[in-house]
Symmetry: C2
Subunit: 260 residues, 2 copies
């Protein structure tokens, strides 16, 4: 397709984990590319950081309406998620959007000081999978159910922020690897079930974020410590935006920053 | 190695989901192969079925002590799991066992009538991942921590009952695929972290169990409906017992019933 066709449309876009790191940069990039009258829903626990991002985007792109959804994805139910999406739509018809995009970016590393044999709390594991799997599954269903018009042709895109850890095991990252492998598989099933939704599992590479600082600080393994300098959030978000615009990936595929 | 060497030792063995299906048959097979004075801990919610299995095994192999651990793995904490393992050891020293084996067989299919876009309850998803991931992670840690003697050389084996669904997406089975992919990855990380533990992800093939009846009844997809006749639990458990005895798999590998 013509790459300029992908973005410049009236879009309803969700980015989770938008307050910082990759999510924040990606929200900014998306806001610069989507068409006038688009709505951008930013989800995170961190109200202060979301508010500052909202102000920055609204100054930069006054034609895009930014909605802040302060939500703790490790501890919320479906009615809270439903409420956030409804508030962002603010009575606008879902059919008025030419493109619906959801980026599942929120996630946590887990405690990288711990080995598998140190994971002794059921509740901690349950919380981990609530944030990194369950809330993703349910927000995704809520999102897609809003955009099922039988009369209007809408582009629908779902992006899962994946990781090399979703396809390769790394010592000290058992919960992270488990969650990412599970998420990748969930979105592969989604791609099979919903052929009219474009689904991308994107592995952003080693990006210089707070999560990477935590990882380098906590992990005991040389494999991880010796990772060298990471990418900037700019670099990986530019790559992701280009992959989406080119629109040539197989739906459900795992695509890495470093893939040719 | 000499295949006869693997089994006939004083073993502490756990089988979860032992009350029926693959777990029940596997518990019987293990009880026939382990050495005198072994302990076999059977875990399931279903007390009645566990009791009948215990009686059957104790009649068949009086030299094996069978302990029943009635536990709901979808709703228990680490102290319950710890208690069950302690009760099974019954004051015996962990160092007295030549082999420690844990088979993570328990699991649930999820609701195969549901598409990804029907998964609208956070609590249902959390429960699913508690049974199929969190309880597995914690029981595994509790088990391995019991067998860390610095003085006695003990064989340690962990088996994860995996599935083709852990490596390939199937419509109508999003939670099942997600959980199995996550479990496979968790045990790959375990294999990396603990080189002295033998870790096997075993995909048992399409076995004629209650889970398969549920699947054929619920799923809407032709791919699954057209699966044809399944294997017996005997067939897949014999295969697993042989793979363990041969002991030639790479630790952490995913091995399927149909692999050559």
């Amino acid at each position: 397709m013509d790459e300029s066709c992908y973005w410049n449309k009236k879009t309803f876009a969700i980015v989770t984990g938008a307050s910082r790191g990759i999510g924040r940069t990606l929200a900014e990039k998306i806001s610069q590319q989507i068409g006038p009258d688009s709505v951008l829903l930013l989800i995170s626990r961190d109200e202060k950081d979301l508010d500052s991002l909202q102000k920055a985007i609204e100054t930069d792109r006054p034609s895009v309406r930014v909605h802040v959804g302060v939500t703790d994805l490790s501890n919320c139910d479906e009615s809270a998620l439903n409420g956030v999406v409804s508030s962002a739509l603010a009575g606008e018809s879902a059919e008025s959007f030419a493109h619906a995009l959801c980026v599942h970016n929120a996630g946590s590393l887990g405690d990288a000081t711990k080995r598998c044999t140190d994971l002794l709390s059921v509740n901690s594991c349950v919380q981990y999978f609530q944030l990194n799997l369950a809330s993703v599954v349910v927000l995704n269903a809520i999102f897609l159910r809003r955009f099922t018009s039988p009369v209007v042709q809408q582009r629908k895109t779902v992006v899962n922020m994946s990781s090399l850890c979703g396809v390769e095991p790394f010592s000290s990252l058992s919960l992270y690897c488990t969650g990412k492998a599970g998420r990748d598989m969930f979105f592969k099933v989604l791609a099979k079930e919903e052929p009219d939704v474009r689904v991308l599992n994107y592995a952003p590479g080693p990006v210089e974020t707070n999560m990477r600082v935590q990882l380098l600080h906590q992990s005991w393994t040389e494999e991880i410590k010796s990772g060298g300098l990471g990418l900037t959030t700019e670099m990986t978000c530019d790559r992701l935006m280009a992959i989406l615009a080119r629109d040539s990936y197989a739906s459900g595929a795992h695509v890495d920053y470093y893939d040719p």
